[in-house]
Amino acid sequence: MARDADVPQQIQTDAKIVVKGITSVFHLKKTRTTPAGEFIALNDINLEVRKGEFLVLVGPSGCGKSTLLDILAGLAHPTSGGVYIDGKKVTGPALDRGIVLQGYALFPWRTVRQNVEFGLEIKKVPKQERAAISDNFIHLVGLDGFADRFPHELSGGMKQRVAIARALAYDPEVLLMDEPFAAVDAQTRESLQDELLRIWEATGKTILFVTHSIEEAVFLGDRVAVLTPNPGTLREIVKIDLPRPRHNSDTRSSAEFGWIRRKIWELLQNAPSDARPHPNAVPVADAISPTAAL
């Protein structure tokens, strides 16, 4: 199979992230009701992200958006194609990328501060320096006074703030966020979105944000990449020209916001007929986790 061999290790580019011809195929085992086969999670995805850009990947479940994020994080390998950061091919996870997951994924035995310092410990940053950095990021996400609390003492929204602080603390250039706000209530979600934009503007990170919420995508992104399932295909990249800084009430109530939201909704609805989800497709896609093994 064409794997890494025919993919160059380095390319010339000005873009921060280049996704080049990514195809990801899972082999399905034969079951009693279905024959053995292949499931194409991602089909020839090409994408470029500028330095400091906020790019959102939006699409229904089964469109391969989380798989793409795993590949970007270096936690999964594509069947063919390659991901480049600053022109260098991604071969595995590293500290140049930070990841924020839906389920917070905080270490329950570590305090807020110790969670935030986790990446710094891995990076072997001296203790005093670590404390200064974690103070800074705990302040950035608005959790002053909670540094010595444990995760089980925090609300969902606070936990996700800690997860963001943890991903930012070791100073990755790229932040990968996989439906980070999907598990919190609507109100917390909107305030977290506001706060994420503020943090993004303050830090200048390149952010790749995965969501299935069109509204969230339009509110946050510079551009929104619309993915359609079966096989996971990049349908279109929509530029979001809404002025910044964006604010919850003003931005969401503007006419352009509604117009762009509708446009993306139509893109997701009018997927080519052969790309419509197969009735059995969703459970299959959910059943496959390329990162399941330890």
Binding site: G74, P93, A94, I99, Q102, Y104, P108, P151, Y170, T291
Partner: protein
């Protein structure tokens, strides 16, 4: 927590009061069930003459040697089977489950063929009974480590050993403590059985001797001290658990504490 402790202490005090009163008011025959105060008095006398100190020391030593042996063998074995060698785990699981339910008292009689009735046979049989909950809880703890925690950690490029030390092992801690508490309970049960099967010292032997000589007060004194030691051990482990695995009491604890949430 404070309220809970008071309630637990209250229940135990009530039981002791009942124990004191029942023989007094003729609810039970004081010849077979002596008053609690009499038992306490006997315990104090036995410690004063030095007779009990020796038996307590040897019993505790046996229990902890057996438990320690089980931990030293079971913990690394559980870690290896749970983390590194899933194939071997799958292959040996049915056998381990069979061994875990095999009757240890019957087994002890076979062990005596090989090791005699000395200390090594006692250590072996206590360790044998204690090792299974430790192995199983270690395997469970490792295998149920939160997938998203592992993902978050792996995204930082952690190596296998770092991942194990910083994420997998702490994740397993609550389950590990649950297994340790179970094993400690088993250790005291098996200790007494082993001492009754063949020994010349220890609290189990003392209880058997007292029973055969109709020393009812001494019998109760021995049984009470054994119970006290077992409870003390359990409470100590629980304190360690609250200190080192505070975020989750483990499955056994959750079942016990469920009533508190429903109330």
């Amino acid at each position: 927590m404070g309220k809970n402790t008071v309630r637990k202490a209250g229940v135990i005090l009530l039981f002791l009061a009942l124990w004191e009163l029942a023989p007094l008011i003729g609810l039970v025959d004081p010849v077979f069930i002596p008053r609690f105060s009499g038992v306490v008095q006997t315990i104090l006398e036995l410690y004063k003459t030095g007779e009990f100190v020796q038996h307590t020391r040897i019993s505790l030593l046996r229990a902890f040697t057996g438990l320690a042996t089980a931990v030293v063998i079971g913990l690394p074995l559980g870690l290896l089977l749970g983390g590194w060698f899933p194939r071997i785990r799958q292959a040996t699981e049915p056998l381990m489950e069979l061994f875990a339910v095999a009757n240890p008292v019957i087994l002890a009689h076979i062990i005596i063929f090989f090791l005699g009735i000395g200390e090594s046979a006692k250590t072996f049989i206590i360790a044998w009974l204690c090792v299974w909950p430790i192995i199983f809880s270690t395997i469970t703890g490792i295998r149920t480590a939160d997938e998203s925690l592992l993902k978050a950690a792996r995204s930082l490029g952690l190596g296998r050993w770092q991942l194990f030390r910083l994420v997998v092992l702490p994740s397993a801690a609550p389950s590990l403590f649950t297994g340790l508490r179970l094993a400690a309970g088993y250790a005291f049960i098996m200790l007494i059985a082993a001492e009754m099967m063949g020994a010349g010292s220890g609290l189990g032997w003392f209880v058997l001797q007292s029973q055969e000589n109709y020393h009812v007060l001494r019998l109760f004194a021995g049984a009470t001290v054994i119970t006290f030691l077992a409870v003390l051990t359990d409470v100590s482990i629980k304190l360690l658990q609250n200190r080192f695995a505070f975020w989750n009491g483990g499955p056994a604890e959750n079942v016990l504490e469920q009533g508190r949430w429903m109330a």
